[in-house]
């Protein structure tokens, strides 16, 4: 019977990791530590391994299969797919970056140099979706 409880706990840990990460993307400490969900899947897989050791039931094997799949998928996503090669950016601390002019939402051209001597600037390059 303990095998069943452990199998359920394993599934619960994995599901909780998915819910916390996807629902917590706006929380910097959750979004910026994606290793967290990989670690949670590893814990889930360990618990499922214990469940199988205690009783070789189909549900224990199912929990183990599920958590190992999530662990492999999550690790591949975070450590391989999500990686961005380090760019040789021309932005350097202490240096003035090259000026540029681009249209804003109203079509008005805006230059970085417009703000020189007037305001500090937070310059954000983003992808357009999350």
């Amino acid at each position: 019977m303990r095998s069943g409880w452990l199998a359920a706990l394993s599934v619960l840990v994995c599901a909780a990791a998915i819910v916390v990460y996807t629902q917590g993307l706006r929380v910097a400490s959750i979004r910026n530590n994606p290793e967290g969900y990989v670690a949670a899947f590893a814990i889930g897989a360990t618990i499922a391994g214990l469940a199988v050791a205690l009783g070789r039931r189909w549900y224990a094997w199912a929990a183990l299969g599920l958590s190992v799949l999530l662990l492999l998928g999550g690790a591949a996503f975070n450590f391989v797919l999500a990686r961005i090669p380090t760019p040789h950016t021309t932005l350097r601390v202490g240096e003035r970056p090259p000026d540029f002019t681009l249209p804003d939402a109203a079509g008005t051209p805006v230059s970085l140099a417009d703000y020189r001597g007037k305001k500090p600037v937070i310059l954000v390059f983003y992808r357009g979706y999350w």
């Binding site: 970085l112 500090p120 983003y126």
Partner: protein, 111 residues
């Protein structure tokens, strides 16, 4: 967009008024503008449709987009009044964005 939403929440109205927030993306202008309106953000959204500026800044992540298109490497820089970079953050994992609290600290530490 997550980093922009976080910034909007982390900076007070006075701080947002004292600093220009310039958001550059290949997004069509209208889409970014609508998003800014919805979030009540006083950002300048600039459209780098052909990624020419992103390329000039050497921030291109080739084939890094959802559908294999070229996208910018998520980057945030804080420039002081003279236009010099004082704080820089470049992502090495597309899930990760700069912590808005750190950007706020960099802005507050400028003068």
């Amino acid at each position: 967009m997550a980093e922009l939403q976080g910034l909007g929440a982390a900076l007070s109205e006075a701080e947002q008024a004292g600093v220009a927030i310039i958001a550059v993306s290949p997004d069509p202008n209208q889409q970014s503008h609508d998003m800014a309106e919805r979030l009540h953000l006083g950002f300048r959204f600039l459209a780098d449709r052909d990624l020419a500026v992103t390329r000039r800044y050497w921030l291109l992540h080739a084939h890094g987009g959802e559908h294999g298109e070229d996208v910018p490497t998520p980057t945030t820089a804080v420039l002081d009044r003279s236009g010099a970079v004082r704080w820089l953050w470049v992502s090495d994992n597309f899930q990760v964005r700069p912590d808005a609290a750190e950007v706020r600290r960099a802005v507050r530490g400028l003068e």
